[in-house]
């Protein structure tokens, strides 16, 4: 999805594409007749009063705030005491998705619309959530309400819908979620979407996500955790600009949990991302947020893509290696990603060796001069090239070192894991630029062995890609001021989520990644923030020490930088999801 080119649909195109919604959503399962013949007056706090009459199981009339009645197609599904119905209003770009709790008469209403001011694209579905109740003649309005919650923070669920579509929906944040399209997409990649979590009762919740930086499509459903079932709706335009508006049922399985580190007295009812609330002048109430406002990280839109030539010129002006310059993206120091770096290792100092990687041409000769400087050459060359380097001891006699390849075009760097006990080595070879743009890092792992005094390296055994980390979550405290959580969502991707001040998980993003096993419990994790800022994070993580060390590589207008990364980790659990990935015969799916 990072690479899909989504069409900028115009308002008129959206209008035309929405015409079929007048008939209501489709559904592979039979729609419910639970509301047929009934009338509901839904009173929303801070929202419109909605008066519904349901003439059949797919036609209703609606009056908003006492206005004229309009007729629309709709669909309804039930899940335990919940009735969920969805409709759009014909000849408009808006509609309502209404969850009614028949036990309590409490309601949650999602007003949804296209072409609104809170989104950069007309195609992106927007929403405003209203909590309220069904007005029953002769009864007082209930005091309770459904409310936002952090109770799903950490939960992960596998779903199979009645459409045949399978997904993994992981909830590692109170405002975002990860999802893996197990059937819609061929690659095992995960993605993130701004999300809402609403609590109905201790086992029933409402979830909504909008794929804001991608197609803008919305998925929402009510979940019963007791029976691991769902009933929901999907609305929007897919990557082919086709309208998707359907309701679904699904069955699933809770696949695990990540431990929340939020305070025990934090229930998530009022968590709001997007900075501090607007300040009120003395004696005044703060202004309400704009309708539809939500947290949405949109890195693809704010990043300036550069050409190969532009990046090269920037690199010629400035290629920073371990300088600690605060202006480099992956800077070292207290506020960046190197505040908790390991000490530099002198294990290589004075050594000479050759690294030979499978299918990677001639070997590389190295002479390590001191703690910060080395010389290298391609085997057969006569000239040695000097480089600044840094090395960490990631595990016993397992060194991770990195250096820029000075003068290279595009600017390249090597991150080399070298096991001094067996000679095995893995190099992550990276360079600026991809087929998409110049300031996105491209990378690959090569495996090989070292030739050095005292080591008899194996001929066949190599480090290898691994799925051992899949599903697991670890905090990464780069400094006392910056902690994120890595979730290893699939064999080929990961997400990271930023902790808020009270250690609730908030803003989230995702990227393709690779995982290499060096030793039991010691892995290389490498990701590039594809489709946005193009920066690479390459670390070795050691489960025994709960420490990560490594290097960041990135480029932009300020030049190219290679810097150190260090983090302290906590293992916060994970999901049993490995079984869903890997090459397999694919069904029809979507």
């Amino acid at each position: 999805m990072h690479r899909f080119k989504y069409t900028k649909l115009t308002r008129e195109q959206v209008d035309a594409k929405l015409a079929p919604t007048a008939e209501g959503p489709e559904c592979a399962s039979e729609l419910s007749d639970a509301l047929v013949g009934k009338s509901l007056k839904i009173v929303n706090d801070n929202g419109p009063t909605l008066e519904y009459s349901f003439r059949s199981k797919n036609r209703l009339t609606l009056s908003e705030d006492g206005g004229a009645s309009v007729e629309a197609g709709y669909g309804a599904l039930t899940l335990k005491q919940m009735v969920f119905f969805s409709h759009l209003i014909p000849k408009t770009q808006k509609g309502y998705n209404v969850y009614v709790d028949l036990d309590t008469n409490l309601t949650t209403v999602f007003e949804v619309w296209f072409s609104g001011s809170q989104a950069p694209d007309e195609r992106e579905v927007q929403r405003e959530i209203y909590f309220g109740y069904v007005d029953v003649a002769g009864q007082e309005a209930p005091e309770e309400r459904h409310h936002k919650t952090n109770r799903l923070e950490g939960t992960g669920i596998y779903w199979k819908q009645d459409t045949g579509i399978e997904t993994l929906d992981l909830f590692p944040s109170v405002a975002s979620s990860n999802f893996v399209e197990l059937t819609r997409h061929a690659d095992d990649l995960s993605f993130c979407a701004p999300s809402d979590y609403i609590m109905v009762d201790d086992n029933i919740f409402i979830y909504e996500r909008t794929e804001c930086e991608f197609s803008g499509i919305m998925t929402m459903y009510v979940i019963d955790l007791f029976t691991e079932t769902q009933a929901g709706m999907r609305l929007g335009f897919n990557e082919h600009d086709e309208l998707e508006y359907y309701m679904f049922r699904g069955t699933g399985e809770v696949v695990g949990n990540l431990t929340s580190l939020a305070p025990f007295d934090e229930h998530g009812e009022n968590i709001s991302l997007g900075g501090a609330p607007k300040k009120a002048k003395p004696g005044q109430e703060p202004a309400p947020p704009p309708k539809g406002q939500r947290y949405a990280y949109r890195p693809g839109r704010t990043f300036r893509n550069m050409t190969e030539e532009e990046v090269h010129q920037a690199a010629e002006k400035s290629t920073r290696t371990f300088t600690g310059d605060a202006n480099t993206p992956q800077e070292q120091g207290g506020g960046g990603m190197g505040g908790n770096s390991l000490p530099f290792s002198d294990l290589l100092v004075g050594k000479e060796f050759t690294l030979r990687y499978d299918n990677e041409g001639p070997g590389w000769n190295y002479k390590i001069v001191d703690l910060y400087n080395l010389e290298w050459r391609t085997e057969g060359d006569t000239q040695w090239q000097k480089e600044t380097y840094r090395a960490f001891e990631a595990d016993e006699k397992l060194v991770f070192f990195a250096h820029i390849v000075s003068g290279s075009r595009p600017r390249a760097c090597r991150r080399i894991a070298l096991d001094l006990t067996n000679g095995l080595t893995t190099c992550i070879l990276s360079q600026m630029g991809t087929e998409y743009y110049g300031n996105e890092v491209s990378y690959r792992a090569v495996f090989g062995a070292a030739e050095m005094e005292g080591i008899n390296a194996p001929r066949y055994v190599r480090h290898e890609f691994t799925d051992e980390l899949v599903g697991r979550g670890f905090t990464r405290s780069y400094s006392d001021s910056m902690t994120s959580m890595h979730l290893y969502t699939t064999l080929h991707s990961s997400s990271w989520t930023i902790y808020m001040g009270d250690q609730t998980l908030g803003a989230q993003w995702c990227a393709p990644a690779i995982y290499v096993k060096l030793r039991p419990g010691v892995y290389i994790f490498d990701l590039v923030e594809e489709g946005c800022n193009g920066a690479e994070t390459c670390i070795i993580e050691n489960e025994k020490t709960k420490r990560a060390c490594g290097f960041g590589f990135s480029g932009g207008e300020r030049g190219v930088g290679l810097n150190t990364i260090g983090a302290i980790a906590r293992d916060i659990g994970g999901y049993d999801i490995k079984r869903f990935f890997g090459p397999k015969m694919r069904g029809k799916g979507a």
Binding site: G275, A276, G335, Y478, S481
Partner: protein, 255 residues
């Protein structure tokens, strides 16, 4: 909170003080003391009761007016602290005179609509600086330094004040990494620490309204403390090394 008794002044002094005279006191207690001494003075006087009484009444009127000014300064500072605590930086700027000055972290910020606006509405705002928090453990100030002191000039047009502070200071992380960008999205991405010390301020009356003429953050301690922690470590925050515009939120002058 205020303290100290009024400076000892002879009630028999026939002339008002020339030049600067200070009023330093604890509100309430000071008022009682003044009234008590006035009553005593009246009852013991006998030579020229009318002249003496008039002098004393004038002096008392001046003293009471001075106390009112001192209280007005305290209220002004309370408002300042409250606005800072609530992040209402624009409103703070309006509390300064047009030619006001602030000294902060080795930099002089000059002019209400220049340096002072830059300091509060850009630097402080971006770092959410100013939230009132308790002192860092191990860095509690000497109780005698926790006193408010206000001195009002005789002509009641100017005043000085000292007020202890204990607050959170922050600067936004400057990196371009996605982690920082995402943290900014949720109102964070800020390096925060604690600072304690004494505000030293001078005030001037503009019309009938007191304004801040000069405010100096006299920092005595900086620590890596945030509320909830039971320990803190002293930290060293470098003073400004560049002025505006080289530093977009920097001072007009290094001091």
């Amino acid at each position: 909170m205020t303290t100290l008794k009024p400076k000892a002044e002879s009630v028999k002094s026939p002339k008002p003080d020339s030049g600067r005279r200070s009023f330093i006191w604890k509100t309430g207690a000071a008022m009682s003391a003044v009234l008590a001494s006035a009553v005593a003075g009246v009852s013991k006087s006998g030579i020229d009761p009318d002249a003496g009484l008039k002098d004393r009444i004038d002096r008392l009127s001046n003293q009471i007016a001075g106390m009112e000014d001192a209280n007005a300064i305290r209220r002004l500072h309370q408002v300042y602290e409250s606005l800072l605590d609530r992040g209402m930086y624009e409103e703070i700027v309006d509390m300064f005179t047009d030619d006001g000055e602030v000294i902060f972290n080795g930099g002089l910020f000059s002019g209400k609509n220049g340096g002072i606006r830059r300091l509060y509405c850009e630097r402080f705002k971006s770092g959410l600086t100013g939230k009132k928090i308790g002192p860092a453990p191990g860095f509690e100030p000497d109780p005698s330094r926790q006193l408010d002191i206000v001195e009002v000039s005789t002509d009641r047009r100017t005043a000085t004040g000292q007020f202890p502070f204990s607050l959170q200071v922050g600067i936004p992380m400057t990196e371009d990494s996605s982690l920082v960008e995402m943290a900014r999205l949720q109102g964070e991405g800020i390096l925060k620490w604690w600072e304690g010390g004494v505000h030293e301020a001078s005030y001037i009356k503009v019309g009938n309204i007191w304004k801040i003429k000069r405010l100096e953050y006299g920092v005595t301690s900086k620590a890596d403390f945030k509320p909830g922690r039971v320990y803190a470590r002293q930290i060293d925050i470098p003073a400004f090394s560049k002025t505006y515009p080289a530093d977009p939120t920097g001072p007009d002058k290094l001091v």
